[in-house]
């Protein structure tokens, strides 16, 4: 091992993102990207941003973006943090709000697999809490946590890769019963069928909500994500950010983010198309004998009682369809499948139908 590496670097187990194949090689149903391009208005705004000022640093705090998004959600700009993707917002919050001298954080055993990676990066102890038998998040253990031992709770809602959402009432109960524990709700997939917790921010100083432009706004290629919370929590992220990188959001990305939030019509049209294709896909694959968890996301999570998940994934791959398989108990027989275009979904159903017939005979 290299003598210049800090000790913890040797122990890191970096997050492994979904495969990014060469363009056109596969139908990508493995990274929960949108199958639709971003709003033409967002592209036009980015095009305009290219024409002037690229030699100058961007607005350091992405203030015009924060103003636009704050207005959209009925917040004030000081309740909005903008990061280079939601991943950067998450990293800063782990560092700035979850490092408390030996206190630990809690998250589900099955959730966004970057959480344990951040915890290791910042030497934060953590306990993984099992899901309920139906793969939903059971909040009982979180309600029972002692604030003397636990400083934070984080989960995705809808959860990934299970696709199951927790109700706003349940989240509020947790916030109310654990006022001394910071609760972070990661809403990367919220626009596909569940309620955002942003409406609770004014009443709960222990709530932070994370969102991203990478899913429902079709801008994974641009890298913009958000944290929403009362101003003091946002200040902590801003302090960390300004000790890390003054200008993480470039000029083009800032222009695109603003225009994407302003084009509500396109946003609604594309997310509703995705939700409609999801309902079609769920119905069809259930017809093929798959068990599909109830999805509030732009992906489904499914298993087949008779066919091995590794085998299905590899058969799909041969048919140029890429899906995600986490080989981790108790979800090792499940596949996570991103909702593509309606045509993608129909081709997937056709492929699965072949695989199932072949497999069962």
């Amino acid at each position: 091992m290299n003598q210049f590496w800090s000790d913890f670097v040797k122990e890191l187990k970096p997050y492994v993102p979904g495969e990014q194949p060469k363009e056109g090689e596969f139908v990508k149903l493995n990274s929960n990207e949108s199958p639709y391009p971003p709003s033409p208005k967002a592209v036009a705004a980015m095009d305009k941003a290219l024409a002037k000022g690229l030699e100058l640093y961007p607005e350091a705090e992405a203030t015009p973006v924060r103003e636009t998004v704050a207005k959209y959600y009925g917040l004030t700009p000081d309740q909005v943090f903008v990061g280079n993707g939601s991943d950067e917002s998450l990293a800063h919050l782990f560092n700035g709000l979850f490092r408390h001298n030996g206190k630990k954080i809690l998250f589900p055993t099955i959730t966004y697999s970057f959480y344990p990676v951040y915890a290791k990066l910042y030497s934060i102890p953590y306990t993984e809490v099992p899901l309920a038998d139906d793969f939903s998040i059971d909040i009982t253990p979180y309600l029972a946590a002692s604030p003397d031992e636990v400083c934070g709770i984080i989960f995705a809602n809808p959860n990934a890769p299970t696709s199951i959402a927790l109700s706003l009432e349940t989240i509020e109960r947790l916030l109310k019963e654990q006022p001394n524990i910071l609760v972070v709700v990661d809403e990367a997939y919220v626009d596909f069928g569940t309620q955002t917790a942003i409406s609770l921010i004014q009443r709960y100083p222990n709530l932070m909500v994370i969102q991203t432009l990478s899913k429902s706004r079709s801008l994974a290629g641009i890298r913009v994500g958000f944290a929403f919370a009362q101003a003091e929590l946002i200040q902590a992220l801003t302090r960390v950010k300004n000790s890390f990188n003054s200008y993480p959001i470039d000029r083009v990305a800032q222009a695109g983010a603003i225009a994407a939030f302003e084009d509500e019509e396109y946003f609604n049209k594309t997310r509703h198309m995705i939700m409609a294709s999801r309902e079609y896909l769920i119905k069809e694959v259930r017809g093929l004998g798959f068990n599909v968890l109830p999805s509030a996301a732009n992906f489904i999570f499914m298993s087949h009682p008779k066919l091995d998940a590794t085998k299905i994934a590899s058969e799909l791959r041969e048919r140029k369809l890429l899906v995600r398989h986490f080989k981790q108990v108790p979800i090792d027989q499940f596949l996570r499948v991103t909702i593509g275009t309606q045509e993608n979904c129909e081709n997937l159903v056709k492929a699965l139908s072949e695989i199932v017939s072949k497999g069962i005979i």
Copy 2:
């Protein structure tokens, strides 16, 4: 103080970047940006990147960028790290290569003022080493450092805000005499008049070089910076990066970075224009009685024996010319002035001439 803040957040003293005024309000000579737009080929490449694929994540390791830049410098792609600006590369190197259980790092008292901020963010002890009387970096104390106590040395070359360069021979001497200390040379301004240390990388496993597109490539608005070193050191940064943010460089930025490196003609034209204007400016302001340090950068660092720096800066501001003033001993009587267009320089000379006449009378 908010109960959810990690302790260290309270102690942070974030870096303060140069003021970014509203467009057109001032002539910006305060942030060492280029006065020229980026290569038209870089803009065209970014424009093309907007047309397709923004809904998909970018290449996680910016491999096409690393390949292009490696080829340019005669390195291999595994010797190149790409960060969201050089600031992100610096942050990851402080975290991954400078955190060694109580060992400290050394840097000059007067250098890029982000270094102590990173050190505080990652709880790294440090000692600031005074400059020589002529404001150059005296390497004697660095040569005398014990590797039992010191794990790293970092400085900017040319140094900022002094603008003075260290010779390649001096840097090599340091690398040779301190094989067990990591030496980081931050070359943000290297293209304006000194030699890069990249040529030493194959021979010195204790060298890392940092560069950026924000200065000589006129792309401060886009956020791309580099670390160059032997592959094992780059691997450490990659591990930290992949535990922090999988995709920090967006699709548009990657396209722009590649095209900017490929347009050598435009790069040479603009940097030579800046260097010519610098020589003009130095000659003129020396004629007005200013002391100007020998500059190898796209800025000059100057003081006047009879006029107070705060007063000069404020008089310039009234004339819509923004310069940078660090109110820190022993440079509190100096102003850092970015080289603008030739016209900007001529207007600055005119303004300084008025201020000097008025001040001295």
